[in-house]
């Protein structure tokens, strides 16, 4: 790192432990407001930016938590000029964080896109976003203000799997937006066969802050292994809020677990965790890993005691089966069967043999799709069968202990 860059960071560091970070603002999302808050991006080289993101220990906020700098290096060293795609597809119905981020601080995301493009030496830069009216208007206006005609805005397909990296690449390449087989991974061969960085827009916003304030500032929050903050979509009281929290925060400080029997962590591809385990867990891969979960893309849904986990899970499985792209045999055949039996179980019509089928199919679809959709679906199913085991038995006997039948998890797309 050059001394000029560290001097810049030293001069402009805002409260390093202040929250929020990527959502920080005063309601002004225009360019003058953004510049008043953060200033211009420092004029440093791509390799200095790469080093800074590596030193910051930033990892992906799109769900998988992959080290960001490692991906940038792979793309930067690939064959030919790179492509950067900011991923704001946010196909997960239980997540709203990317939408809130984009419409709150569009210029921070665009700074991040610029930082990533410089770091990997990209000659094409795309923002792939759900084309709702608000996002489109905000992004269009932000790009006009920056007089930036380098960033292409491409509309994401409205589908759960739209944001999967190879589906993103397919859409940006002019295809229907469906996942494709790997290898090659998109960082090797992506858009038009070029090395492609597909990066969640929240990750890009954090990268922008690293560029503005430096890795030391970034590491002042979070844990040593998982520095920084992350955006969450917190459910409860039949509504949701998007919040930014320090990694390592106890879950009890984030959502009300008082009346909960279990918590869905990570979203529809996530894991049910019993409320007792959730009460002692923290928001980090390390802590949640000990209870079989990961923070995923930051969705946290407490399930109230009066609701039924079997019914809630079945509704989501029906949705997920309908979201299969129908390309891969095991996914095409397995997911609808899983959904049908889960629905029968929810309605008290399933037999122990059906349950055995369910478990066998779960094994058959895993790791046998072009994308991880079957794996994510099985993760949800398997954790439900485990955490709600007594309720599963009750359903096999044709009963359900729910007192409140209002849906917690949405089955709509």
């Amino acid at each position: 790192m050059t001394s000029t860059t560290s001097r810049h960071w030293a001069q402009t560091v805002p409260g390093s432990t202040a929250l929020p970070r990527v959502l920080a603002g005063d309601g002004r999302r225009d360019l003058p407001g953004h510049l008043a808050r953060h200033g211009q991006l420092p004029d440093v080289s791509g390799s200095a930016l790469l080093d800074a993101v590596e030193a910051a220990g930033l990892s992906g906020r799109g769900g998988a938590g992959f080290p960001t700098a490692r991906k940038w290096r792979a793309v930067a060293s690939g064959a030919g000029p790179a492509v950067v795609v900011g991923n704001a597809a946010e196909g997960e119905p239980a997540s709203s964080k990317d939408h809130v981020l984009l419409t709150t601080n569009p210029h921070l995301v665009l700074d991040g896109v610029q930082v990533a493009a410089r770091a990997v030496g990209a000659t094409r830069v795309v923002l792939y976003a759900e084309p709702d009216a608000e996002t489109w208007a905000v992004l269009g206006e932000a790009l006009r203000e920056r007089e930036d005609d380098r960033v292409e805005l491409i509309a994401a397909r409205h589908a759960f799997i739209a944001g999967e990296e190879s589906a993103v690449v397919d859409a940006v390449s002019g295809g229907p937006g469906l996942p494709r087989a790997k290898p090659p991974r998109v960082f090797e061969r992506g858009v038009d066969g070029r090395p492609t960085l597909v990066q969640n827009v929240e990750t890009l916003a954090h990268a922008a802050l690293v560029a503005h304030y430096g890795p030391g500032w970034f590491r002042a929050l979070g844990t040593d292994d998982e520095p920084g903050t992350m955006l969450l979509t917190l459910h409860g009281g039949r509504g949701r809020t998007v919040a930014e929290a320090e990694i390592g925060t106890p879950l009890v400080d984030l959502v009300d677990l008082a009346g909960a029997q279990a918590v869905l962590i990570g979203g529809y591809h996530g894991t049910w965790v019993p409320a007792d385990a959730a009460r002692s867990a923290r928001l980090s891969r390390a802590s949640l890993g000990a209870v079989g979960a990961t923070p995923g893309a930051g969705v946290v849904v407490p399930l109230p005691r009066g609701s039924c986990g079997v019914v809630e899970t079945a509704r989501v499985l029906v949705y997920l089966a309908a979201q299969s792209a129908g390309q891969c045999g095991p996914c095409l055949n397995g997911l609808p069967r899983i959904a049908l039996v889960a629905e029968a179980l929810a309605e008290g019509r399933a037999t122990p043999r059906d349950l055995a089928d369910l478990r066998r199919w779960a094994g058959l679809v895993q790791r046998r799709g072009a994308c991880a959709h079957p794996d994510g679906t099985v993760r949800l199913l398997t954790s439900a069968l485990e955490v709600f085991e007594p309720e599963v038995q009750r359903h096999l006997a044709g009963r359900c202990s729910a007192r409140d039948h209002r849906p917690i998890l949405d089955g709509r797309s």
Binding site: L178, A181, P183, Q327, G329, N333, G334, R368, A370
Partner: protein
């Protein structure tokens, strides 16, 4: 690692139509599930089977199989 090149048999699931002829040629490596789609163990193809694996690749009617020279990165 021996002198044989390490090859891995990859199935493009978006192409495979469950035709099953690959499993007939290479039952040591490929098994069909209850819907007729093949599975193979992860990792390199054992050297004595590589010849048959090549033949399976060549006979898949939808070109869903290929041999990759190094183990796939994930």
């Amino acid at each position: 690692m021996g002198p044989e090149p390490t090859v891995e048999l990859l199935i493009d699931r978006t192409r495979c139509v469950g035709h099953g002829s690959c499993a007939e040629l290479l039952p040591e490596l490929l098994t069909l599930d209850e819907w007729g789609y093949p599975s193979n163990p992860a990792g390199p193809v054992p050297a004595p089977l590589q010849r048959f694996a090549r033949r399976a690749v060549g006979t898949c009617p939808v070109l869903a199989l290929r041999l990759a020279e190094q183990p796939a990165r994930r």
